[in-house]
């Protein structure tokens, strides 16, 4: 065995294991990127819109963060905030899971709807928060998506929805399944009214949500690396003999299969939305400074 000092000295110059650094910094000052394991100071991470400055991985956002990163300051007005899930089937532990999600997120439901402006362009905005039971679509989320579209029709406004969901919410059984039909029918009405409908798929957009309103936009944008697919990995493995490709069900893979119009980095999303909304509505956007400017 070599003398103790050899490696200890060397380790002074070698990058220390991530856990070690995290242990040394006060709570909340730094985080470790789940993708590349590099340490990021929280201040830098938030300045970078929760995109890892080392590997570019787009970390999930809360609904509040998404709204703050997307719309003109002071333009957000939340709608339908008083809708709450019930437990119509008395499903095992649904009540406690709901209560926990409400507590963790501070939200009444995982889907948030409101009106706002992006670069001065008015729109109806809907955002899914993945922390709330995996963004799953139950009666409330389905109702809010439908109301967002109806609000767009009533006010002649374009509708932009940010999706992040594992799919339909099992705990509401068929009532959840029917939200797929409800939201698809609402999307059909929005289309008949000839109002722009833009979907921004974020990590993760799966199953019942991808197989309904998320796939019915005039334009489908996605964040880099977002997981987007029909069935979860285990179900796919059961149904398929061959091994899935490395990038299977990523935004990049879906782009190649023709399901997405464009992959847009988080920093560019407000500008891209403004440009598209301006092109589709014929309204001129204004420079509102900040992110969008």
């Amino acid at each position: 065995m070599p003398p103790d000092g050899w490696f200890r000295r060397k380790s002074k110059f070698a990058p220390a294991p991530a856990a070690q650094i995290v242990a040394q910094v006060p709570d909340g000052v730094a985080i470790k990127c789940a993708q590349c394991s590099e340490i990021i100071f929280t201040k830098d991470f938030e300045k970078n819109l929760k995109v890892c400055p080392h590997c570019g991985s787009h970390h999930r956002l809360t609904a509040a963060e998404r709204i703050a990163y997307t719309v003109d300051e002071g333009s957000w007005v939340e709608l339908f905030a008083n809708l709450r899930s019930v437990d119509p089937l008395h499903f095992k532990e649904y009540d406690s899971k709901l209560a926990k999600s409400v507590q963790v997120t501070g939200l009444g439901d995982g889907f948030v709807v409101g009106t706002a402006a992006v670069s001065g362009l008015p729109l109806v905005l809907g955002v899914s928060d993945f922390r709330f039971m995996g963004g799953s679509m139950g009666s409330v989320a389905g109702e809010k998506v439908a109301r967002a579209m109806e609000e767009g029709i009533a006010r002649r406004l374009p509708v932009v929805l940010f999706t992040a969901s594992g799919g339909a919410r099992m705990q509401e059984g068929l009532l959840s399944l029917m939200q797929m039909a409800k939201t698809s029918a609402a999307a059909a009405r929005l289309a008949e009214a000839k109002l722009p409908y833009i979907v921004v798929m974020t990590d993760a957009t799966m199953a019942g949500v991808l197989a309904s309103y998320a796939s019915l936009g005039d334009i489908h944008l996605a964040e880099p690396g977002a997981l987007i697919g029909f069935a979860g990995a285990r179900v796919v493995a059961q149904a398929t003999v061959q091994k899935p490709p490395e990038d299977y069900q990523t935004a990049e893979w879906q782009l190649g299969r023709g399901q997405i119009d464009s992959i847009v980095p988080r920093r560019d999303l407000p500008q891209t939305l403004a440009t598209l909304l301006s092109l589709l509505t014929g309204r001129a956007s204004v420079n509102t400074g900040g992110l969008n400017g």
Binding site: A81, N82, L83, R84, S85, V86, P88, L89, F91, K92, G108, G138, S139, V140, E143, A146, A168, M170, E172, G173, L174, L175, S176, L177, M178, Q179, M180, A181, K182, S184, A185, A187, A188, R189, A191, E192, A207, G208, L210, A211, S212, Y213, A214, S215, L216, G229, F230, A231, R234, V235, V236, Q238, A239, T240, P244, Y248, Q249, R257, G258, Q259
Partner: protein, 328 residues
């Protein structure tokens, strides 16, 4: 004799059936004329016993029993009903884009003299058929074929009938590659505004998006022992308890029976099956389905298209249960 076609809870019936058929055989055997009078009484008694037993068994089916019945390999499938119910059935193949999906059949036919477009999931009974039908799990091409036929029906003012019987939509990589999610979403989107009457009936398994993808209808019916679910009970059990074997608990929790679906206002009516399930009497089942389809279609045919589409929208728009807090 044990058989793959007999469910556990049906075993007592199967034994009775076997005894009955033995007695019938003896009666038919003309070499034994002197036994006839005695046996007639025995047969009647056995048949009475069988009816009573079936009634008792089927009055107390668990949700999981219903799942097994809905999946019963002897249960009539879409094409079995099509042959028995419709006239001039003309099958039409392919999505005009990529392929013909065997898991969804589509075509034109007449129902009591009235032209209709018929679309349904098709399962297979033997290995070869099952491969050809992809176990009734529709691929994107199936939904796109269904969409093509529905648009044609709309063009010619022909009502649409869909028969639902699928465990789930295809979940393999190839289906994902060709946009299975988009195909299901698009199908529901188009059905929502289709300007002709649509009647759907769940004849066996109503497996989540794969089923709903062709079931956005003015009237949605379910056979008495069919099931309709947001997720297969096995999958639900795997997620909830990390144990797919607790599927019967999951089946109960999911409220997937026709009776519960009616109470939750998801379906409009339950179509009765012959005593002991649709697989015991295909002809009677077909008659029951035909009567239900006619009864559902008739009041829809006179409604102007815009009213029909508006009513369909309201029907699905109302689905869901939630509360609205005051002062929030």
């Amino acid at each position: 004799m044990a058989s793959l076609n007999v469910l556990d809870f049906e075993k007592s019936i199967a034994e009775l059936d076997e005894n009955l058929s033995k007695l019938h055989q003896i009666v038919e055997d003309r070499n034994n004329p002197q036994n006839k009078p005695d046996l007639a009484g025995q047969i009647a008694e056995l048949e009475e016993h069988r009816t009573a037993l079936l009634s008792a068994l089927f009055a107390n089916l668990t949700p999981w029993d219903k799942v097994l019945l809905a999946r019963h390999v002897k249960r009539p499938y879409t094409l079995d009903y099509v042959g028995a119910i419709f006239e001039d059935w003309t099958e039409l193949h392919g999505d005009r884009m990529f392929a013909d999906d065997g898991a969804i059949v589509a075509g034109l036919a007449k129902l009591d003299g009235q032209p209709v477009a018929v679309i349904g999931h098709q399962k297979g009974r033997d290995l070869k058929q099952r491969q050809q039908r992809n176990f009734g799990s529709a691929r994107p091409e199936g939904f796109r074929k269904a969409g093509r036929i529905m648009q044609m029906a709309a063009k010619f003012g022909i009502p649409v009938v869909t028969l639902i019987d699928t465990a789930a939509a295809a979940a393999d990589i190839a289906a994902d590659e060709r946009g299975i999610s988009e195909a299901i979403a698009r199908s529901m989107f188009e059905m929502a505004t289709l300007p002709v009457p649509i009647v759907s009936i769940i004849i066996g398994e109503g497996g989540s998006g794969g089923a709903l993808g062709i079931a956005v209808a003015d009237r949605v019916l379910m056979l008495e022992h069919a099931v309709y679910s947001v997720i297969p009970p096995e999958g639900c059990a795997a997620i909830l308890w990390r144990d797919p074997e607790r599927k019967s608990d999951a089946a109960a929790a999911l409220n997937l029976t026709a009776q519960r679906a009616l109470e939750l206002c998801i379906i409009d009516d339950i179509v009765p099956e012959p005593l002991g399930g649709a697989h015991r009497d295909w002809a009677e089942s077909a008659e029951s389905v035909k009567a239900a389809l006619l009864q559902s279609l008739r009041p829809l045919t006179g409604i102007p298209a815009p009213t029909l589409v508006a009513q369909r929208y309201e029907k699905f728009r109302r689905m869901g249960r939630f509360t609205e807090l005051e002062g929030v």
